[in-house]
């Protein structure tokens, strides 16, 4: 999956989950400050991303994710490391 495809899929998931219009979400959008995602929401988001991308994100990584760009970078990194199911 290309970085562009990853970004598009992440935006779609966020848009649906948080009821935000797709074009309002940019790579710089901050999850907590701009989208109102609390810590439990972040845990749930990671769970949904794991399902959508069929990979496992370590708990320790969740804490470092602040923006949409961060999510995409982690997903790109982990999709290289994790074999597809």
């Amino acid at each position: 999956m290309s970085n562009q495809e990853i970004e598009q899929k992440v935006k779609q998931i966020l848009s649906k989950k948080l009821d935000v219009e797709l074009d309002k979400i940019t790579p710089e959008t901050r999850l907590a400050e701009d989208l109102g995602l609390d810590s439990f929401g972040a845990v749930e988001l990671m769970f949904e991303l794991e399902e959508a991308f069929a990979l496992k994100i370590p708990d320790s990584d969740i804490e470092h994710v602040r923006t949409v760009k961060d999510i995409c970078a982690y997903l790109a990194m982990w999709s290289e490391k994790t074999p597809r199911q």
């Binding site: 649906k16 989950k17 948080l18 009821d19 769970f47 399902e51």
Partner: protein
């Protein structure tokens, strides 16, 4: 002043919200009740092929995002959709401005028999299918029965008591009764009280089928719930909810609130007999009705909204109990069954029926018991069969009897 001769505060109802299979919102629901319109259909929420009962009171057309943010709506179980929607409707009708209220003295007490059943079932299937590590991280706060009261408290900023009562089919009535007591004793001034249930799931319906207490009249869904009728063959499982705004009377008067009715009596007790069967003599049902009447300072009421589930056992026992309490006068008190039209919404039933009682007083009209074509010889009271009727209603009683012999009775009156 604001207290009665016992030194207790008086409690009035200032708002109603309801979601049922024959109507969403009080207006639509009440019209269906007046017209004797059933909301029972074949269930299409999930595959029912394998089950003996494939009918239910399924709520259609509720849009949760009309009552809460789409984000919250996507993060809660269906039973919470019902609760928050009903609370929102009740708040609107009450015209209560929570921004100018002492919210420390505003609470929420909701009845729920089984909590977030649909999500619970989905997560168990996910765990079986893909492993327990694939359980949704928010499963605990989605499944827990108190999710409904807490989501209502969060949505409206209610900082007083926040409770859920789980007493099977009497949950909603107990929630209203306990809220009544807390306001009477000065613990709160406002309470969102009611009941919700969302049992239309494969496990939910399957479990009742296994227990053999539900109607198998799949050929005629609208005719399946037939309380007091000779051909009744069990209840029809239903989903829905109702929330009432209960308010201390002086508080309501001072803000010029629309006062719909007064709650004047409540009692709860147990038959201590069996987890499913009622006491065949109906002694506990009679006792709870008598205690609620005494609490209200009455010896008679003008109408009884019966528990009347359409099971063989319940309808006969309730009839016996009504006769034991009211004596020969029982034959002159009109009685009807809301469940004849909407089926049995379990933990929501007592609250939905409380809405019917308040509307009956407001409209001076008794909704019918539908499908009562040929009465069971052991059920020989006036059950208002087929057609509703106008009546002078000053006082109304509502009965609720839950599995495990958890009983409740509520008494409402018109506003004096």
């Amino acid at each position: 002043m604001g207290t009665n001769e016992m030194g207790r505060h008086r409690v009035v109802i200032t708002g109603l919200g309801v979601v049922a299979c024959n109507g969403i919102g009080v207006e639509e629901f009440w019209r269906a009740n007046v017209e004797g319109r059933s909301g029972v259909t074949l269930i299409d929420a999930f595959e029912t092929e394998e089950l003996s009962s494939r009918i239910g009171g399924q709520v259609r057309g509720l849009v949760p995002a009309q009552y809460m943010s789409a984000e919250i709506a996507s993060r809660v179980d269906r039973f919470v959709h019902f609760g928050v929607a009903c609370a929102d409707m009740a708040l609107r009708e009450s015209k209560l401005d929570l921004t100018s209220e002492d919210t420390d003295r505003a609470g929420v007490i909701i009845g729920s028999g089984a909590g977030g059943q649909l999500f619970h079932e989905e997560q168990i299937l996910a765990a079986v299918d893909r492993g327990a590590h694939r359980i949704n991280p928010l499963a605990v706060p989605r499944v827990t029965p108190n999710a409904v009261a807490s989501q209502i408290a969060i949505r409206f900023g209610l900082k007083g008591p926040n409770l859920v009562i789980s007493t099977a089919c009497a949950s909603g009535a107990h929630a209203i009764g306990e809220a009544f007591r807390k306001i009477q004793y000065g613990e709160m001034e406002v309470c969102f009280a009611g009941g919700v249930e969302a049992p239309l799931t494969r496990f939910g319906l399957g479990a009742y089928c296994s227990l053999r207490v539900v109607s198998k009249n799949n050929a005629n869904p609208a005719g399946a719930s037939r309380p007091f009728d000779r051909k009744r063959d069990g209840f029809v499982i239903a989903e829905g909810g109702a929330v009432l705004v209960l308010e201390e009377r002086e508080h309501a008067r001072q803000r010029g609130a629309p006062i719909l009715a007064e709650l004047i009596g409540y009692a709860s007790n147990s038959g201590a007999h069996h987890m499913v069967m009622p006491d065949p003599g109906g002694e506990d049902a009679a006792r709870v009705m008598a205690a609620a009447l005494k609490d209200a300072g009455l010896t008679r009421v003008d109408y009884i909204n019966a528990h009347a589930t359409s099971t063989k056992a319940n309808d006969v026992v309730e009839t016996k109990a009504i006769k034991a309490v009211f004596g020969p006068e029982a034959y002159h008190i009109p009685i009807s069954s809301t469940k004849s039209m909407i089926g049995h919404a379990l933990g929501a039933a007592g609250a939905i029926e409380a809405v019917v009682c308040v509307k009956a007083i407001g409209e001076q009209f008794i909704p019918p018991t539908i499908n009562l074509d040929e009465p069971d010889p052991e059920c020989d009271l006036d059950y208002v069969p087929g057609q509703g009727r106008a009546a002078k209603l000053r006082t109304v009683m509502s009965n609720s009897f839950g599995f495990g012999n958890c009983n409740a009775a509520l008494v409402f009156s018109s506003v004096s």
